[in-house]
Amino acid sequence: MRVDSIAELARLLRRRELSSVELTRECLQRAESLQPRLNCFITLTPELALEQARTADLRLARGEGTVLTGIPIAFKDIFCTAGVRTSCGSRMLDKFIAPYTATAVTRLQAAGTVMIGKTNMDEFAMGSSTEHSWYGPCRNPWDQGRVPGGSSGGSASAVAAGIIPSALGTDTGGSIRQPAALCGITGLKPTYGLVSRHGMVAFASSLDQGGPMARSALDTAHLLTAMAGFDPRDSTSVERPPGDYAANLPGDIKGLRIGLPAEYFQQDLDPRIRAVIMAALQELEKAGAVLKDVSLPSSHLSIPAYYVVALAEASSNLSRFDGVRYGYRCENPRDLMDLYCRSRAEGFGNEVRRRIMIGTYVLSAGYYDAYYLRAQKVRRLIRDEFKSVLRDVDLIAGPTVPGTAFPIGERSNDPVSMYLSDIYTVSVNLAGLPAISIPAGMLEGLPVGMQLIGDYFCEERILQAAHAFQQLTDWHLRTPGDQG
């Protein structure tokens, strides 16, 4: 049984050909058997999952529920779940159990999804490989010697491995789209403000956005429909009438204008990746889309601007982990300073400490203007360039990542090369735009992802194009198992 299509599973569940309990048992069994090899999960919740599955079966038996009722799901371990540990991949929160549940999770639970566990991630979402986890690295099901990408690597790997049909990730600079690309699945970062951040442990508040990860655009549309919407507990969430993102799929993409930024296809892009993306774009062209050359001249500034803004916010957001009220506390502190220093030094991993130090530095007296303020100016510039291009085209397309999954350990001692794998994704977060990564082809047995960026709150248009592409191709249906 393939458990990777929400739409298909929902049909089986409604016809009572499959019960949610059966489906959930299957997912749990796969999760447990693959855990030693892939390490996708930080916590599995079999008892809770079966309880939720039984409730879902009762709803289904009464003919109630939504397309998501009874569908197994896993949440990146950054989403707080009342009663179940939320570690954020960190020793700091190894024993932390929140007394509240993230709004996005609450909404998916109300829709009837079944949580089977919490997925592995780079500590506090800081990383692009899921190697920086207190619980050990997660692996890519396409090649277990390679990273799944990150920081939502556990969610991407679990969906790609066929453990679960759906998962949630968060995306601050590409943490949904980059692992989706490296694992060959579909991952959507919504417009900033569309999905509530309440209950999502903050990395960089002005950039963080939760989003769905699944096999197909249609499935991510179903998940987004349940997750999105105004939340009074998040001041940055946007009041908009609720929409059904799956209702208008497939849409017509005839005449859809797709812009190809010159900067995303320049000489330093691996020509083989460029070839995969160009081939994928030609499929869209055949379906009636119109390709246009566009330019986003400040793209090269996005990585430095992103790392200043994101780390400045992170250095402040992570101050609350001080060993005083909850979380890791060092043994026998001598005094207050010792308590702070050792709790944070021992509780945080290297990458988190590095980022806190950089973030603290760029906000310091004398450096603020040169770094933080200048980065904010670059951010406005990048946003304005996107806005201007999106007046002429409906979507912007390009590779999600400049390469495929890299070997575990290859970049862990070279943070800058790690940061550069986010080169095509961070500018989208700086602008607050929605974007999707969809499987666009294969290179040497590894998936290649294509990114489609849309205008603010134009998730539906992005999903229509992605769905149209997935009607024409089968890249999104490929799984690591196919190769035998």
Partner: protein, 480 residues
């Protein structure tokens, strides 16, 4: 050679706003609850929870701005002030930095010598309070109570416009009365609702540049502000006069020893790494909102005092005294309305008898056993001559003790003034008959004895006879 020094003072006032819930969470703000029972996930800074601005606090800050004729920023921004401290759960305080909600106001003071002086207010911004560290009864450990964490404050920063401790206290008192009047703070200084940091420096008289200042923190009474400033002025003067330098530093006032002590120097000052809080949107204030708040604002002291002079023909001094707080002003106006009589009489009774009694028993106006209704009842009887002024004081004391209304007391204790001419004539005749010697003296021109004779009548009437009437009748009989 003796230099004359000019004292320069600027104050920062931290004023707790009287909202029911906190600035960014739904937890209650009531004082005195069991530690950590009024701290929700947001106040505890658990991961993933977010601040949501309390609109009532914004309205209160705006009404303060309007009351000091300040500019209300159409767009203000919350910023994070980053530092580590155990009672600061997030590791940062949400405050306002570059764009405060209120800027450039003025306070018109009347100084003790009767002169008036304008003090400029640089800014007033919204911020959240920290929790409290508890050291007593903790067996050598430090306890943290986060009930206060997140309570809304406005920080009101003045220009260095004050020139003496007395001026600083006058300014502080003015702002204190103002926020109480506006109903935006309970002003309770023991509970920390109204705290002051004082910036003090000295410069040679006539100089226009500012000297090096010190900041003395956390002064929570008018007296401490006065004493701390006076101490600091003396300390700095002594340093400067022997050619030493004042260090720019933060100091702490110790009221037990009446001295200030250094807390941290400029070099040790924190780098707060302020930046706009990305969890909160800028606060946009529309002219409609400002108009709405202005329309609902209570009458302020100055306007009220002017109105009292105008409407009730009170002397300026009485009018100012009765307008000092809105509750006293309301008391006065309802007493006048209910007594239907002379406002000046009501003013005198409130200022002398009522405030005297409250002061004597350390009670607040709200705790007064005599309400405007009862006081008006007594003033009606004074007005229509039922009781004499002296008797009225006796009735007031009885009312204060809870003996009932003025009429009930007058009736039960038989305190009505006797104005029955026949009765008074009888008593006068008796006194004349019994004191021939004094009568003789009076008739011989020694008119002073009249008081003695009238006193005798009053004594025999047990104080109830109308003294004017007694005096008239006595004089007539002696002359006749």
């Amino acid at each position: 050679m003796n230099t004359r020094w000019e004292t320069v003072i600027g104050l920062e006032l931290h004023i707790q706003l009287a909202t029911r819930s906190k600035l960014f969470s739904g937890a209650a703000t009531a004082f005195g609850a069991t530690p950590n029972t009024q701290a929700c996930a947001v106040d505890l800074a658990l991961p993933g929870v977010l601040p949501v601005l309390n609109e009532a606090a914004v309205r209160m800050a705006i009404s303060f701005g309007l009351a000091i004729n300040a500019e209300i920023a159409p767009r203000s921004v919350f910023a994070r002030k980053n530092y580590f401290y155990p009672d600061l759960p997030k590791g940062y305080q949400i405050s306002q930095f570059e764009l405060p909600i209120v800027a450039r106001g003025t306070v018109e003071l009347r100084l003790p010598d009767g002169e008036s002086k304008a003090i400029r207010v640089t800014r007033a911004h919204l911020e959240e309070d920290a929790g409290k560290s508890l050291h007593e009864g903790m067996q050598g450990c430090t306890g943290i109570d986060l009930n206060r964490a997140g309570t809304p404050l406005i920080e009101v920063v003045s220009e260095p416009d004050m020139r003496s401790a007395a001026e600083a206290v006058a300014y502080m008192r003015y702002v204190h009365a103002l926020v109480c009047d506006l109903g935006i703070s309970d002003g309770n200084m023991q509970e920390g609702s109204f705290r002051c940091d004082a910036n003090v420096s000295l410069r040679p008289a006539g100089s226009t540049t500012l000297g090096t200042r010190t900041e003395t923190k956390n002064l929570n009474s008018f007296r401490f502000v006065e004493q701390a400033i006076e101490y600091e002025v003396e300390r700095q003067r002594e340093l400067l006069e022997r050619g030493a330098q004042v260090l720019q530093e933060t100091r702490l006032y110790d009221p037990d020893r009446n001295e200030t002590r250094p807390l941290r120097s400029k070099e040790e000052a924190f780098d707060y790494r302020y930046f706009p809080d990305p969890d909160l949107l800028p606060v946009e204030i529309t002219p409609q909102l400002i108009a709405d708040i202005r329309a609902r604002m209570p009458e302020l002291r100055k306007t009220r005092a002017a109105r009292f002079v105008e409407r009730y023909a009170l002397p300026e001094r009485d009018a100012e005294q009765l307008s000092a707080t809105s509750s006293l002003a309301v008391y006065f106006e309802s007493t006048v309305a209910r007594s239907g009589g002379d406002p000046k009489l009501a003013a005198n009774w409130i200022i002398t008898e009522l405030l005297g009694a409250l002061n004597r028993e350390q009670k607040t106006l709200q705790q007064s056993p005599v309400d405007p209704d009862r006081l008006a009842g007594l003033l009606r009887r004074v007005g229509d001559g039922t009781v004499s002024g002296r008797m009225a004081k006796q009735v007031f004391e009885a009312m204060w003790g809870g003996a009932g209304t003025a009429d009930e007391i007058i009736r039960s204790q038989g305190l009505e003034q006797v104005s029955d001419t026949g009765l008074i004539e009888e008593l006068v005749d008796g006194v004349i008959a019994a004191n021939p010697e004094q009568v003789e003296q009076f008739r011989a021109g020694k008119e002073k004895v009249l008081a003695f004779l009238v006193g005798q009548v009053m004594k025999q009437s047990k104080g109830k006879a109308n003294p004017q009437q007694v005096s008239q009748i006595m004089t007539a009989k002696l002359r006749g």
